[in-house]
């Protein structure tokens, strides 16, 4: 039987905090899986210039903050944390990479500035080194591995992003920044952007560009190609999109990266998995916004096997649903078939496949005014009933949203060996009924009275959104 661990990663020293620590991400060091880094929209608790990452060196049992991410600070009394942030370890050497939107710059300059960051030690208090600055870019998403060659290890790093920095302007915004030697290459560490959209979207592609990397160098990149785009406001738009998967067979090191998978119908690079899907970009479900749910994962034992999941509104413009679809390809992304029944009112799907071919799918479901975070695992791609584990469930209207996103525009699930690791954000009420497989809090909490407790033992710290780490040990 697998063993589950769920941990509220807010450190004990922050028992008095009540911020909205949403949009979490997680990296686990494959070389030493007891080392991990989590992120969220957490600002320096005392308003410093660097935003924190959460660090654990004991397998996720205890966590501390390390304030090393550029883009924090206090401006006219308002504390800024980082903007969007994702992180990944290389396979060997312990180097951590991050893709962020600089929080302060986004506000001061009204531009979403991508920064690619690196640190050789997750416990070093030295700020992460800035390798790349570029704008305007949205939603960086990082993966990495390590390969041997030319007398040493080389870290291959891929950062999916929605890049609007085209001159002349172009609607082809789906992009992957690639470096074949991010650890040691000089200057910008070898990073260069690669456009992966080869059709002509209506005005742009959607924000999520998700990646899956196989050790043999096969790398898949999925994105949502917007085919129509009818504005309701600047932040809400009725969007029709195609789900597109591109592939590169040599780690994007060749002359024409991400063009190894050609659509079986129109012959363009990028196989369309689904077409004409509808979503209200910027619409809402509970207190959360919607519009960019996408994930892809490859079987580490066989690069031909790949799974994808996304959300759209089956009911169209008059509908209210946000429906999760899961499909599978067994021929390197050329042909796709539904592999799981659709699931309504879901967001933040996250797929991963472990070393034994077990597929994991984490997601957050909205029903009966409650958010439920679920992990499914299946060894036969949902032909039989999956193992379904409720990690967390709590009222969706508590706490009141301070800003958006409420829980986050994504969560993270990843596999290291046979184990699954992940992180989600949710209502932090200390109630065992909310955590069916149990939970450990770092911060002070009274599970009898269901109250958060301050550093001096005073109960009544307001309920807020915290990041929760989870681990499914095989």
């Amino acid at each position: 039987m697998p063993r589950f661990k769920v941990v509220n990663i807010t450190p004990k020293a922050l028992s008095g905090e009540s911020e909205q620590d949403s949009e979490p991400f997680l990296a686990v060091n494959p070389e030493k899986p007891t080392e991990m880094v989590a992120t969220a929209f957490t600002s320096d608790p005392m308003g410093g210039r660097f935003a924190p990452v959460y660090v654990s060196t004991d397998g996720g049992s205890s966590w501390s903050l390390n304030t090393i991410v550029p883009g924090g600070g206090v401006i006219q009394g308002h504390a800024f944390g980082t903007g969007d942030i994702t992180v990944a370890f290389a396979d060997r050497g312990g180097t951590l990479y991050a893709g962020i939107l600089n929080g302060v710059a986004a506000f001061l300059q009204d531009r979403t500035i991508l920064q690619i960051l690196r640190t050789s030690s997750i416990t070093s208090t030295a700020p992460m080194k800035v390798l790349v600055n570029r704008d305007p870019v949205d939603q960086p998403w990082v993966i990495a591995d390590t390969v041997a060659g030319n007398g040493g290890d080389h870290d291959r790093v891929f950062i999916g992003n929605n890049d609007f920095a085209h001159d002349p302007p172009s609607p082809r915004s789906a992009t992957v920044d690639v470096s074949g030697d991010a650890r040691t290459a000089p200057g910008s560490a070898g990073f260069a952007p690669v456009g992966i959209e080869h059709r002509t979207p209506a005005q742009q592609d959607g924000p999520p560009v998700r990646l899956a990397l196989h050790p043999d160098g096969t790398v898949y990149a999925a994105f949502e190609s917007w085919t129509t785009d009818k504005a309701v406001s600047r932040q809400v738009s009725n969007v029709t999109f195609d789900v597109v998967v591109t592939r590169d067979d040599k780690a994007a090191a060749g002359a024409s990266p991400f063009q190894d998978l050609v659509d079986s119908t129109d012959g363009s690079p990028g196989q369309r998995v689904a077409t004409g899907r509808f979503v209200v970009f910027g619409g809402s479900m509970g207190q959360e916004r919607m519009g960019g749910d996408l994930t892809i994962a490859v079987d580490p034992t066989d690069a031909n096997n790949v799974w994808i999941a996304w959300c759209d509104r089956v009911g169209g413009p008059k509908g209210t649903d946000n429906t999760l679809h899961v499909q599978r390809s067994t021929d390197r992304g050329q042909n796709w078939r539904r592999t799981r029944d659709d699931l309504t009112d879901v967001k933040n799907p996250a797929l991963a496949v472990n070393s034994e071919g077990l597929i994991g799918l984490a997601y957050q479901k909205f029903a009966d005014n409650q958010w439920t975070t679920i992990l499914e695992t299946t060894a036969d791609s949902w032909k039989s009933e999956p193992e379904t584990t409720v990690l967390h469930q709590a009222p969706a209207d508590v706490p009141q949203a301070v800003s958006l996103p409420y829980l986050g525009d994504y969560i993270r699930l990843l596999a290291v060996g046979a184990d699954f690791y992940g992180v989600f954000s949710g209502n932090n009420t200390p109630d065992n009924a909310n955590f069916p497989v149990g939970v450990t809090y770092q911060r002070n909490a009274d599970f009898t009275t269901h109250q958060l407790v301050d550093v001096d033992g005073t109960p009544g710290v307001p309920v807020s959104i915290d990041p929760f780490f989870f681990h499914r040990a095989a």
Binding site: H78, G282, L404, D456
Partner: protein
């Protein structure tokens, strides 16, 4: 064991407390319980590392206001006077480590007697923290500077709100610019002569923009305005930009003292 009393002790220069509070997000009156070590795993210690029992929090962010009675690791300034176990002092600090406990770096230090009057006064007032009055004064000063550096300051009432039909790409982080029309009751500063003025503001609730004031129909108050730049000049001459750009009208008097 030293805790100098006020008798015979040198006075703290005027403004020094304000300066230290401005430079440090947290201060507390505490007593040293250990030198040269820390109970916090993962935190390096040296001869400048102290463990201090917090007797009174003087000022702190909300999350740290209830530290009294707990022990905090303090990385003392290397150039500061050495401390011994049992010494009391007022420590002005910034964050260093947040884990199973809290560690801070010393920004400055005052003798305990210099802050005891604030502690005593806070016990008899409605102030939440001994340095609440200092914080209010700093905020008043900052607001005055902010207003002085703004392009216009006025008393006005929101007469209209309209969405700007923008173009370009969509992002969750788009500011979603709207335009408010303010009926002007009084111009404190700036070249505004008309009876009304147009003001842009980001209506987005995205975390990048949520803190900027969102005018409501009929809302009256003090508005601190910043000239728009580039293409936005065609949309409106001014914009709201910072969390402090809307204030209740009664703040004008306090603002004038600093402007």
């Amino acid at each position: 064991m030293t805790d100098p009393t006020t008798s015979g002790a040198p006075a703290v220069p005027p403004g020094e407390i304000t300066d230290l509070v401005r430079r440090s997000p947290m201060s507390f009156l505490g007593t040293v319980t250990r030198i040269g070590g820390t109970p916090l795993p993962g935190l390096a210690a040296d001869e400048h590392t102290a463990v201090v029992k917090v007797d009174h929090v003087l000022h702190a962010p909300d999350a740290f206001r209830r530290l009294a009675g707990s022990r905090v690791t303090v990385q003392l300034r290397a150039d500061a006077a050495p401390l011994a176990v049992g010494d009391s002092a007022a420590f002005f600090t910034e964050g260093l480590f947040y884990g199973s406990g809290l560690a801070v770096s010393e920004v400055g230090r005052l003798p305990a007697h210099a802050v005891r009057p604030h502690v005593a006064l806070a016990a008899t007032s409605a102030d939440e923290q001994p340095f609440s009055a200092v914080l209010r004064e700093i905020h008043r000063q900052d607001l005055a500077v902010h207003a002085r550096e703004a392009d216009a300051v006025l008393l006005g009432t929101v007469a209209g709100l309209e969405r700007i039909d923008g173009s370009g790409h969509y992002s969750e982080h788009d500011p979603d610019w709207w335009r408010a029309t303010l009926d002007v009751q009084h111009v404190e500063s700036g070249a505004i002569t008309a009876d009304s003025v147009s003001v842009l503001y980001p209506n987005s609730r995205d975390r990048h923009w949520n803190h900027v004031p969102k005018p409501r129909a009929g809302q009256a108050g003090l508005w601190i305005l910043h000239a728009t730049e580039g293409d936005r000049r065609e949309l409106a001459p001014y914009a709201l930009r910072d969390a402090d750009d809307y204030q209740p009208a009664h703040r004008l008097a306090a603002l004038r003292e600093g402007m």
